[in-house]
């Protein structure tokens, strides 16, 4: 198995962190843990509290409501932020579709993290806007 790239290097390739200095990315990599999930393993659970926001470093995740696949996320994308930002319990399960490698930002740390790094907040807002546009286009 080829040697995996260092996590700092992996994070610096993601659009979410594109505006950060190397030192800032290193500090993020030191502050938050990597979480790895097996194919089929649950990352977020419907109705259970205490969740986190996840940024996918490698692999794919799927959102499942009542057993039906509703959305997919890949490397560079994030999920779990809605429950954290709105302080609500997840209304869906999120599962690993492949071996999934994420950076995990525990719920209580998301707000201070985004306030500390406004450029990440801006990039997240852009991504949310794109998601909203797709939803709107789909509805019209």
């Amino acid at each position: 198995m080829p040697e995996r790239p260092d996590i700092v290097e992996s994070l610096s390739r993601l659009a979410l962190f594109a505006d950060l200095s190397h030192a800032q990315i290193e500090s993020i990599a030191h502050r938050f843990d990597e979480a790895v999930f097996a194919e089929g393993e649950r990352v977020l659970r419907t109705g259970l509290s205490g969740g986190a926001m996840y940024v996918i470093i490698e692999g794919e995740a799927v959102v499942r409501i009542e057993g039906t696949e509703r959305a997919w996320f890949g490397a560079g994308e994030f999920f779990g932020e809605i429950g954290v930002l709105l302080d609500e319990l997840p209304n869906a399960d999120v599962e690993a579709k492949t071996l999934l490698r994420c950076l995990e930002i525990p719920g209580a740390q998301v707000e201070p993290f985004l306030v500390e790094f406004p450029r990440i907040m801006f990039r997240m807002l852009q991504a949310e806007a794109r998601r909203l546009r797709i939803t709107t286009e789909w509805k019209t």
Partner: protein
């Protein structure tokens, strides 16, 4: 006379690699199930990392020799975070060896207790037998060793997280020494020392050098955060240098910086750091630079047989039963079991890096292997009026769920033939595996580090979460909690 070379190469159901606390506990737990297994170790005596570390000889977790409960009982384990789990004379050994000059055991005391455990629990090990390679064979594995080949259905690696690890992002790291090469504290008399890393090992060194060094700089990208102390991996007993720094003490600095370079400069070594919580760059000239950047598991060729890793490629990624997420049949015990993350509610990690937590992980692992080998777990029947008292007792003092918070749980199942005690189960497995109606009790910690009991009920495949209120002295066995449980388990008991 003791057989000095038990377990010749050959076929076994399970092979355990390692003779530190993780390997010893796993062997003891497998033996209780009557599982045929071999234990091999490259060392020549038991003890693992405690034969050498911590360098400055004091542990960080407590053992209370005089507790309000009897030594050797399950309840006593809550007061003794260092002893392995054994029966009779093999139980609660660490307090026997403590001279009580500190509130925690010393390294030699811990090592002596582990040697005694191996002897009294009858854990036999093939010492000086080094695991050198791994390959798949049929539905199992072949472990190549310095003594020959061991074939097994399941392999358990309790090999520690002991190999030096230096982040590839530190240029010039070869000019520094790793933590493991740190010399006796007096050797740093009058020196300027830069320590890279703010984990326990970094502060352990800094604390020991306080009386000797001329100047101490501790630097790493992550700031020290102890506002939510129980969720910080840092232990206060090493934090004296940090306290001196934040009070404005001279010659002692704790800096948040990413290392841009380590280079030679006028006979000294210069460490260049870019601020992570402040703008700009600082340079420190030092006589000695010590890398307290941590350790990685010595996985040898396990990545080649498919073992996926986590935490920046430092440990294997594990299932709730401590099996490789990507290579079924390969398990890990000891502090490598930190690769099993659990539900991580509120981001709280289990205590799997230390003996207090991983001793229970080893029991769970052995029980799981036993089931895979077709052995049946005893699941005693419970009457309905026994359910709430059992859960209240567990929430009050069960060491497994108090130490492995939100990670291990006491489970009771309900099917057509009534209630059954399911024992201690990984909570993540309970939440995700489905199955018969059941209840799981555990202890949790919220984002403000408040400890409270929690109960999860599985009915018709769905999970309900019930968080109970906290209590100032954690007395979760009283009448108020009984009423809460009666109420919340009513539907479960009725259906």
């Amino acid at each position: 006379m003791e057989d000095l070379s038990p377990f010749p190469p050959g076929d076994y159901d399970v092979v355990v690699v390692g003779s530190g606390p993780g390997g010893l506990q796993t062997s003891q737990a497998l033996a209780r199930w009557g599982i045929r297994h071999a234990v091999i170790s490259k060392d020549d005596a038991p003890g693992g990392m405690f034969r050498r570390f911590p360098i400055y000889e004091r542990l960080i977790s407590w053992t209370k020799p005089d507790a309000p409960v009897e030594r050797g009982t399950r309840e006593y384990e809550w007061y003794d975070h260092n002893s392995l789990l054994g029966d009779g004379e093999a139980a609660a050994l660490v307090p026997e060896f403590m001279d009580r000059s500190y509130d925690v055991p010393s390294r030699p005391e811990m090592e002596a207790a582990l040697v005694a455990f191996a002897e009294r629990a009858g854990v036999r090990v093939r010492y000086r037998c080094e695991w050198t390679g791994t390959r798949r064979a049929g539905d199992g594995f072949v472990l190549e060793t310095s003594d020959g080949e061991f074939r097994c259905r399941f392999a358990v690696f309790a090999i520690g997280v002991t190999e030096r690890w230096v982040p590839p992002t530190i240029p010039g790291a070869e000019l520094a020494k790793h933590y493991v090469d740190t010399r006796p504290a007096g050797a740093y008399q009058g020196k300027r020392v830069v320590i890279i890393g703010k984990r326990n090992s970094g502060f352990e060194i800094a604390n020991a050098l306080l009386p000797w060094a001329q100047e101490l700089v501790i630097v790493s990208p992550r700031p020290v955060k102890i506002d939510v102390l129980p969720q910080s991996p840092l232990r206060l007993r090493y934090l004296q240098p940090y306290e001196e720094y934040v009070r404005g003490g001279a010659g002692n600095y704790v800096v948040d910086g990413a290392i841009a370079a380590i280079e030679r400069s006028n006979g000294a070594v210069r460490v260049v750091a870019d601020g992570t919580t402040w703008p700009g760059r600082l340079e420190f000239d030092a006589d000695d630079v010590i890398l307290a950047t941590g350790f990685t598991a010595p996985l040898q060729d396990l990545r080649d047989v498919g073992v996926a890793t986590t935490l920046n490629d430092r440990v294997p990624a594990l299932s709730p039963h401590f099996e490789s997420l990507s290579t079924p049949g390969i398990f890990f015990a000891g502090n490598i079991s930190m690769g099993s993350k659990g539900p991580r509610k509120h981001g709280v990690a289990p205590n799997s890096t230390s003996v207090n937590g991983f001793r229970y992980n080893a029991q769970v692992l052995a029980g799981h292997i036993a089931e895979r080998l077709g052995l049946e777990r005893e699941r005693p029947r419970l009457e309905r009026d026994q359910l709430v008292p059992l859960l209240l007792h567990e929430l009050s003092c069960a060491p497994e769920i108090w130490i492995q918070k939100n990670f291990l749980a006491r489970v009771v199942t309900r099917s057509d033939d009534g209630l059954r005690d399911g024992g201690i189960v990984p909570l993540e497995h309970f939440l995700d595996a489905g199955g018969e109606d059941a209840v799981a009790a555990t202890i949790e910690m919220d984002p403000h580090a408040v400890i409270y009991p929690a109960v999860y009920v599985r009915r018709g495949g769905r999970i309900e979460e019930h968080e109970l209120p906290p209590h100032p002295v954690h007395a979760f066995g009283g009448a108020g909690y009984q009423r809460e449980l009666d109420l919340r388990l009513k539907a479960f008991l009725r259906s």
